[in-house]
Symmetry: C2
Subunit: 471 residues, 2 copies
């Protein structure tokens, strides 16, 4: 299914012209229409063609976001929230033009409640900046999608990453949020109580809604105590299946593993090329444990024994921070490392997630599919959650190759869905996965449409994303 | 605010008569209209007056639920899902009459996926029956609200209970669900993948919606491995404040406490009366730890040291199952035990939840308020989450006393909301808390109404609950 089939949005030229004038007058230098800035705000780390917004505005408060949304609502103009632009499925493109609402100036920490293990922030702060700010409190925010994304963007895409296996995803870690709705009203979805049964869970409805139901202007997040000790290491396996079986055994034994990342043989080659590390070119698990000194040593030893049972090892681990940092830097550089496998190529990064019992089968079939398709496509996975990524390296100037890659991604999505999994574990739908949402969830998508239409009747909030038109 | 102000629903006599006829013909003995059965289905463990439905139907499948909802939709008749009737805020009352849809015959386990640590069930199975079924797998479902509630009801009210501090609430433990929507269509909200960023989170929207947005007909739940070892015990404290401070320190140190329950002095007296246990009549924490043999011993020792620092102790703990069972039986009997404090009285059980940093202050003010109001009202709390219950013992034949109790509950709710907390941590809104939802969440409630109207335009699903009429 081509993107053009699902993601079309008509331009409202007159409305856009009016809003450009209003915002220029109101925001002065904080409203920009230069082409490169506009294109950068439609930019996504993907092969999906750029669809630039007509202007970019930099609000500094919830009240200013309300003003912008009210102007866009009055003139029926799209408004697209923008964090750091690290989304992967065309989330920030502007298929019908309109205004990109850049939250980078809303990056303050509003309140740290150390006793309650929570923090209230503006959406534009990045996770690295938040953790730097928190360092002296002994607390940290655990979710780590790899990119130094904004917390607002992470909430909007229901992001997760390497340590979701222990700490959960943005779904579990947002206590409350403030959002500006399509009519310009701002609401706060919950108080700071750790749990509540008061009414519908608007927090979770907005988390993962990709800016299509409201624009997040503040977030209250759960924090964790910085672990006393961390241990970690890399363990080679004879096959992806052996690595997956060891992962299942680790989870079933209740070892509270903090990260457990599969890197397949091809991706290991790329990491070696890029990071100059002395790894085997065989599937590996990158593993990390958080706890007390004795606890993390015990966990690492137990994991090593499990690995041996499944033919893996040796599991070399360390509790020394610098060595661990080097290891995870290598893992986090997987995207850039993979580009060395085909210089000049662009990467189509896609993700699926399946029940962990089906993971080995899903990855094995996918590796066979990659080989048969003649594609170069390494795999990394947050395997404790059954989630994995395929980076398809392609020449984006070759339409035949793009088509081959898109067909492969289509088979991958349908394979995951067929195994009772999802077409996206953490990247979101954006534009890229719109064709698969109904294949996954059927009539449920109709009720999503009903909610979208009720909350945003003019379809001004990030139109042309998430929900394909009804047929 | 009196209930009659917020929870009024007009009766549609003609529609009800028609649907009674249709269901009688279709379901035969599985449709009942006897008065005592009807009253039992409007019954709630509360002082709220009984509003019986006009008939009770016992479907056995999603398809049958669809038939019932379609009939009710066609004739604009209320349909109220019923689990075990243990809700506390009038959730299953029928203010506009209509049909109680009793899920007790939908109590099968549909699939256990041990490798994936999940189970798919029908909504009518109770948590005790589910755990009995799972025993041989080495897995269990942790959420424990005290009552042996149905899992469907627990999901619908976003229930939690004593061990939410470790395992989360129904919000975190429902992976996916099937629901029959107001037009009779059945949807499944998610696949079995442990995480997903595919579209709006309809799972979490339905969890806690109290049967007002859809009727849950299947649930996929996360399971946990049965811990290798469990230790627990009771620790007295000189004051509620000392107990709360010890709780905060325990959480902040990252001790993965499985339960940490405050029982105030008055409730301790009641437990002693009822369970014949040799406890001090002073605030106590009931604590439990899950882990390895060495782990639970270490956790218990560390907790004991923390308790001593705050003037508490001695902390007597045991890893012997029978002793622990006796202890938790006593805690779980708190409701019945409290009735011994005033024989013949009925208990109004209410709950609020605040950020843990405000908990001691909130409970202290509440105890003072109880004393000043001349009420008898013991307190128990899931203090690791900042959640506590007050059981107001009252003569329900004395309108003046009911008024006094309602006013007290009003002050309690507003106190919690004023401390950035919620008017209900786990009981839900039902009828009893409708007057407080907007005090807590303001305009957010308007968007809940928008969603309700969009998904249930005829207002047939559990009408007169959760959302007060707009003003």
């Amino acid at each position: 299914m081509a993107l053009s089939d699902v993601a079309k949005v008509e331009r409202n030229e007159a409305g856009i012209a009016t809003v450009l004038g209003i915002l220029k007058q109101r925001f002065g230098e904080r409203f920009q229409t230069g082409q490169s800035l506009r294109e950068q705000h439609g930019h996504t780390t993907t092969y999906i063609p750029n669809q630039a917004p007509d202007g970019v505005v930099f609000p500094e408060s919830t009240a200013e976001v309300q003003e912008i949304v009210k102007a866009c609502a009055e003139h029926r103009v799209p408004v697209i929230a923008f964090g750091t632009g690290t989304s992967l499925e065309g989330h920030v493109n502007a298929p019908g033009g309109g205004i990109s609402l850049d939250t980078s100036r809303m990056n303050r920490v509003l309140a740290v409640n150390a006793e309650d293990l929570d923090v209230t922030i503006e959406p534009g702060i990045t996770r690295e900046d938040l953790n730097a700010y928190l360092r002296d409190t002994g607390l940290f925010f655990p979710i780590d999608p790899g990119a130094n994304a904004s917390l607002g963007g992470m909430a909007a895409t229901r992001a997760s990453g390497t340590n979701a296996v222990r700490y959960g995803t943005m779904r579990e870690n947002v206590l409350a949020l403030t959002a500006v709705m399509a009519d310009g009203r701002a609401i706060t979805t919950a108080k700071r109580a750790k749990k509540s049964s008061a009414g519908y869970d608007l927090t979770r409805l907005l988390v993962g809604s990709e800016g299509t139901l409201g624009i997040i202007t503040a977030l209250t997040l759960k924090l964790q105590g910085i672990p006393q000790a961390i241990s970690g290491g890399v363990c080679p396996f004879p096959s992806v299946e052996a690595a997956c079986q060891a992962t299942i055994a680790t989870i079933q034994m209740g070892i509270p593993v903090a990260r457990i990342e599969l890197v397949n043989a091809l991706q290991m080659r790329a990491l070696k090329n890029y990071s100059n590390l002395d790894y085997a070119e065989t599937p590996c698990l990158f593993v990390e444990f958080h706890g007390s000194d004795a606890g993390v040593a015990e966990q690492a030893e137990t994991f090593g024994e499990i690995a041996t049972e499944y033919g893996g090892g040796p599991f070399l681990w360390t509790a020394v921070a610098e060595e661990r940092a080097k290891l995870w830097k290598a893992r986090h550089d997987a995207y850039w490392a993979s580009l060395t496998l085909r210089p000049g190529a662009k990467a189509l990064s896609t993700d699926v997630c399946v029940p962990i019992s089906r993971l080995a089968e899903c990855i094995a079939e996918t590796e066979a599919d990659i080989a048969q398709s003649g594609l170069i496509a390494p795999i990394v996975g947050h395997v404790g959650d059954g989630n994995f990524h395929v980076l398809v390296l392609m020449d984006v100037n070759d339409p035949a190759e793009i088509e081959r890659a898109e067909k492969f991604v289509g088979r991958l999505n349908m394979r995951a869905i067929g195994m009772d999994g999802t077409c996206t574990g953490e990247h979101g739908i954006g534009q890229g996965k719109m064709g698969f949402l109904e294949r996954e969830l059927g009539d449920a998508v109709d009720f999503m449409r009903t909610i979208k239409t009720a909350l945003d009747p003019q379809n001004i909030l990030n139109p042309g994303k998430v929900l394909p038109a009804a047929h």
